[in-house]
Symmetry: C2
Subunit: 303 residues, 2 copies
Amino acid sequence: MDLVAIGTVGYDSVETPTGKAEKQLGGTAVYLCLAASYFCKVGMVAATGRDFLPGYLDLLQSKGVDLEGLQQLEGETFHWGAKYHQDLNVRDTLFTHLNVLLDFTADLPPAYREAPFFFLGNIDPALQLHVIEQAKNPVFIGMDTMNYWINSEKYRPNLMRVLQKVQGIFVNDEEARDLSGEYNLVKAAAEIHKMGPQHVIIKKGEHGAMLFSDDSIFFTPAFPLELVDDPTGAGDSFAGGFMGYLTTQKRLDNAVMRQAMVYGSALASYTVEGYSVNRIVELNQQLVDERFQAFYNLMDFKK
Amino acid sequence: MDLVAIGTVGYDSVETPTGKAEKQLGGTAVYLCLAASYFCKVGMVAATGRDFLPGYLDLLQSKGVDLEGLQQLEGETFHWGAKYHQDLNVRDTLFTHLNVLLDFTADLPPAYREAPFFFLGNIDPALQLHVIEQAKNPVFIGMDTMNYWINSEKYRPNLMRVLQKVQGIFVNDEEARDLSGEYNLVKAAAEIHKMGPQHVIIKKGEHGAMLFSDDSIFFTPAFPLELVDDPTGAGDSFAGGFMGYLTTQKRLDNAVMRQAMVYGSALASYTVEGYSVNRIVELNQQLVDERFQAFYNLMDFKK
């Protein structure tokens, strides 16, 4: 196993300016694994309920995602609903039914514990910590989190422990501000560096993403698209593409980190072209490389 | 004269999250000319009132800006006031005292009419049209505009005439949406292309700028700064740097347009580091090139 991704698997019901998708496949671990599947062998650590459609399991397996770490628990599958504004960077969460996630333990199958790369999707920091403790010899651990954990007196101490043990953190601009107490993102990244991660990736949705590493800053725009159907999963596809690409590299130097940012952006840009996972499941290596090249054309200048 | 810039000269009173600047030098033509002054001989076409401080004229001349086209009219100088939010992309205009601008005619001195490059700052489209009619042999005309002209039944017909005669338009995202009737910026740029300009530059403030030319899209981020004192003039500094760089080039091909975008972004990034023109007046060629190189480091990736 090259990469192990921990997160949610469930149903998403979203309404966007272009349409609606009811109770479709979603969840952070799903987008993470599908994006990473174009680069490496990825194993999913998550939980579903008894009502989870077997067809979705087949779909994930057909993309090469390893499901040994996917637990089926008693009860209903996680279900999340949201409505996006015309400004797709803004959405209202309509409901979050945690369901079986309340019983999720994030235990890793033995084979997963040997993996070199881990990504800790946005879940309870205690579970993220539990995963780290099971990893035998991790090379690079990436993590996501959210304001719910950041701003809670109960969860924040564990979150700070997780931060000390990861190499990369992926947060959006608002989360970076909450975590650091700094509004300016350059200052925010500097504060978050002090909390542990060597690489701070700040995702800004349609405004792109920034990588803060040591003294180097790298910027990738979001790919300019004529039509965005559904932004759900863009951030996780970004992280999955980023981590997946890292697993293919011998040295994790700054040049590789920058390439990973672009592969992450490429995967995210595909995800938003369709509802749910419709677009990201139909990619192949050539399409991924074509979008990477398109980013090059978008950002290239010489003198 | 390499470049002629038409716009406003006046006093700005701004309040930003970091402080206040009362009745300082401002106006679109001022930022345009100061930014362009690092590249070429630029002439200013604008109007001041009798109350305009001679020291400001000296300052502009000390930077090599030609003031033959600057008219001194009876009455008070243009004065604009605004307050910025913590999100510096949002500001409330507190007042706009047009004063002598109501009598501004945009007549060009004879020497200016021979210039190859023109930039039409955000003024009444009838005046922009009047400038175009005086230009004897223009190579590249750039323009700015704003929602006030775009959304007015009275001004829009002239604005559309101007659009047919320029090579480049510089607008912010909101203006691009209003002008085109399209929310998506890729679609908006395509619609604006049809109105005339071959190059559509959409400025997104702290989220960067995009160049849409034929089938090529180029993106530049805003430079990540730890401190932004005053965003006023960023857009005009961008246009001034862009146009100034063009005047130094023999061929205006896509590679040059991309370099111009980066020089524009470099000048804009310096302007916002200080209140009013405080930072942009103290630059030199080396600092401009250093920031250009810093943009390269920010955006460069290879594979």
